[in-house]
Symmetry: C2
Subunit: 460 residues, 2 copies
């Protein structure tokens, strides 16, 4: 009995020692990931190149091809086991050579307002479009006023809600105007739509973004443009003075046939479970105005940084780690669809994926899409992130590109940086490298690397 | 028995109903505070005025007097029960009319570098100061090299540590160079000191801040200036090429006799416990370069916003609420000392104080200086802040100005916004209104108001 008791206590002692040692090892590895990112990180330098040497990179553009080649090359320089391009056909839309609008308050009296075409929109007639305006806040309101719509430009002016602390909720509650506005207004006989920019700040930058004509035949499509928030306020107040004012819009954007493009994939083969795949990803395309520093240059360089940081702390993943830079998130998600199709064809097992596509701001945490059991496991890891002021571990949606990989067993995570400033930059000329803070960006890279490390270290 | 049981259950039911009702009432009041701040807030407009119409407001300056009068007036406009000025003598230091420095790499070859005088420093001789340079990273290193110091300019070049996630820790670990550098170097026979700016970013802005000569007699004092981080890097690399280069510094700053100034105090008398005082405060003075938008204009307008927001949701404090705008935090803390002295003379009971002096960034939480029991109470309130992504509730230091009010029973809290960007602006020409994000500032005002509301609602 005495002997047994000793054995028992020895066992207990060893067990807890091991747990403690592991705990310390994990904490010090995560600390090292943050330290390396903040002191020897490459994210910022990479993003400088992607933003300033390449720039805006809409799907199908020459710049998108340059970004694909550059990122492939940089991943190769990291000495990953495998770096390759995955071909996929993507839509090609071009903005054209002019975008112009004014408010004609009375014949001959015009005020210019800043506009930009929405991605996917058709052009106006060559001489521009000149029509009366009907202002609405919602599709419901439009529907009630459907008899007044014919021959007019519909002005969707519902602002993002300032009172929502999570600005992505405010975006979700307003974005249908941009995506479906043209289709719905066209069905009521409108000749064009003007959308208030999805921006919480009052300023002079129009914000672009994707729109869709749904099932509308080519002959029924109408041009769609975004107006800056200040422009929207001005137009609204002018309309309250004179309902019969005219709005003039001229743009020559164009949809071209699909072209070939690529997802960029870099891989470290898992040392122990090579068939279990962990993805860290972002989208390599961006809008054509601004240089896409926050959306999603930040996510691209943070994802590229993950294998580099793990290597810096001499950690070799047991599972296969893939960096996936998806093409065409902004206007089609063809890259994400292609990646998930290929993954199904190859019967690949994606156990985990994390996406960074919410800007290069201070990390706040993770939005976790998984079953209850796995959610609890990840939530328990929050203690490891406390020293870095990362507290948000909640159930929620992951990311637009990785969501195609979701199944019943795996875990999809959306990286959540602070959201307050994002929509000032998003899809506008404000989204440039100078709006990136080096430390905030680097803390994001370390957050992604740390979560990947924990997923690989433990069994999820 | 049955009767008793019914009574018992009725009691239990009522008790929990009350708890639930209170819970809901609290949650909805806090929600209303955030909503009012984000949609009808005055913080941003006030800060625009304080930054752009008044500007930098060093203690004893005309601008500081303008800021005092303006904030008193604005508090009066809020219809508080009492608004008054509390007189206090403050130091008066003036920057003078020129600040200039260059590195003379060889006779006749000079490179200009951006410098600014440290607050409290004496001037150089009229023709400037020209001397060899000795670069050190610490007082220890200086002490070891003390025989080489005589007649030279000591260049303190220890950077802020990039790897510390809380940038205030990095600041604390480097600030002794600025505060004590001149005194210590002078004792070893130096003729001047140049301090690397306390800035985590490499740029061209010198950052000022307070310095002290300690007990050094007037005749032994030496001029002290700050050099931009890029300038510091340049000087260091030039020194590594040529130890005998000369550094030239010219500044004509000056210490003048103390002048009369004021703390600004606004008060709502408590409806139930008027003798229990809650303070929300910040400092009305700032450095003279930049316009002090983050340090501490943000804290000033956030503090002023607290009674306004409480009034907006029709909440009347049971305890006395005081907005205190302290003068002279930056170079003497005379305002804070005076306030606490007067409070002792009047046998006032300060049950709670919160200070906002860490920039107008996204709120992260609170640093709490109290006994264990009260700390636990406040920590339990963290659930009320979760919807606003405010998670940090830890024991720690409160704030420079309110710390004089600390006693065994009361609670002092430091408001903690995100710290990543703060030291890019702090004490430099970068600290201007355009670096303020409206929503981040407003979330801060609501955070202060919510904590004050909870303190008043519950018994602390």
């Amino acid at each position: 009995m005495y002997q047994n008791k000793t054995t028992y206590f020895t066992f207990i002692f060893l067990f807890f020692s091991m747990v403690l040692v592991s705990q310390t090892e994990i904490e010090s590895n995560i600390q090292a990931l943050f330290k390396k990112s903040l002191t020897e990180g490459k994210s910022y330098e990479w993003l400088d190149h992607l933003s300033n040497k390449i720039g805006g990179r809409l799907s199908g553009s020459l710049n998108s091809q340059r970004a694909i080649e550059w990122s492939k090359n940089e991943l190769e320089n990291l000495g990953l086991d495998k770096v390759y391009l995955q071909p996929v056909m993507v839509p090609k839309w071009i903005r054209g050579t002019f975008e112009y609008a004014n408010i004609e308050t009375s014949p001959g009296n015009t005020i210019n307002v800043p506009v930009c075409a929405l991605g996917g929109s058709i052009s106006t007639p060559l001489g521009g479009l000149r029509a009366n305006v009907i202002e609405v806040m919602s599709f419901d309101e439009l529907s009630k006023k459907k008899n007044e719509v014919k021959g007019k430009i519909v002005f969707f002016n519902r602002p993002m809600r300032e009172d929502l602390v999570n600005t992505f909720e405010a975006y979700s509650a307003a974005v249908n105007q941009r995506v479906q506005g043209a289709e719905i207004a066209a069905r009521f006989g409108a000749v064009g739509v003007i959308i208030r920019s999805l921006n919480l700040k009052l300023d002079d930058q129009p914000h672009t973004g994707n729109m869709s004509y749904g099932t509308l035949p080519l002959s029924k499509r109408i041009p769609a443009a975004s107006i800056s928030t200040n422009g929207a306020e001005l137009l609204s107040s002018m309309l309250s003075l004179n309902k019969n004012l005219k709005f003039y819009l001229k743009q020559n954007c164009k949809n071209l046939p699909d072209v070939k493009s690529y997802n960029v994939i870099g891989e470290i083969k898992g040392s122990k479970y090579p068939d279990e795949i962990m993805v860290v990803g972002a989208h390599i395309d961006s809008w054509d105005i601004g240089d896409g520093a926050h959306d999603d240059g930040a996510g691209v360089v943070q994802s590229m940084e993950v294998p580099r940081l793990l290597e810096k702390i001499n950690y070799k993943p047991k599972r296969t780690l893939r960096v996936v830079l998806f093409i065409n998130e902004e206007n089609g998600q063809r890259g994400a669809i292609k990646y998930s199709e290929e993954s199904k064809n190859n019967k690949e097992n994606h156990v985990f994926a994390i996406e960074s596509d919410a800007g290069g701001f201070t990390p706040r945490g993770f939005s976790i899409d998984s079953n209850e059991e796995k959610f609890k496991i990840i939530q328990n890891w929050s203690t490891f992130f406390k020293p870095y002021f990362i507290h948000y571990f909640e159930k929620g949606r992951s990311g637009a590109d990785i969501s195609f990989l979701k199944n019943e067993n795996n875990v999809m995570v959306g990286f959540k940086p602070d959201s307050q400033r994002y929509f000032e930059y998003h899809h506008s000329e404000n989204d440039v490298f100078s709006s990136i803070n080096k430390r905030e960006l680097e803390l994001g890279s370390a957050s992604l690397a740390s979560l990947i490390y924990l997923v690989d270290y433990f069994k999820l």
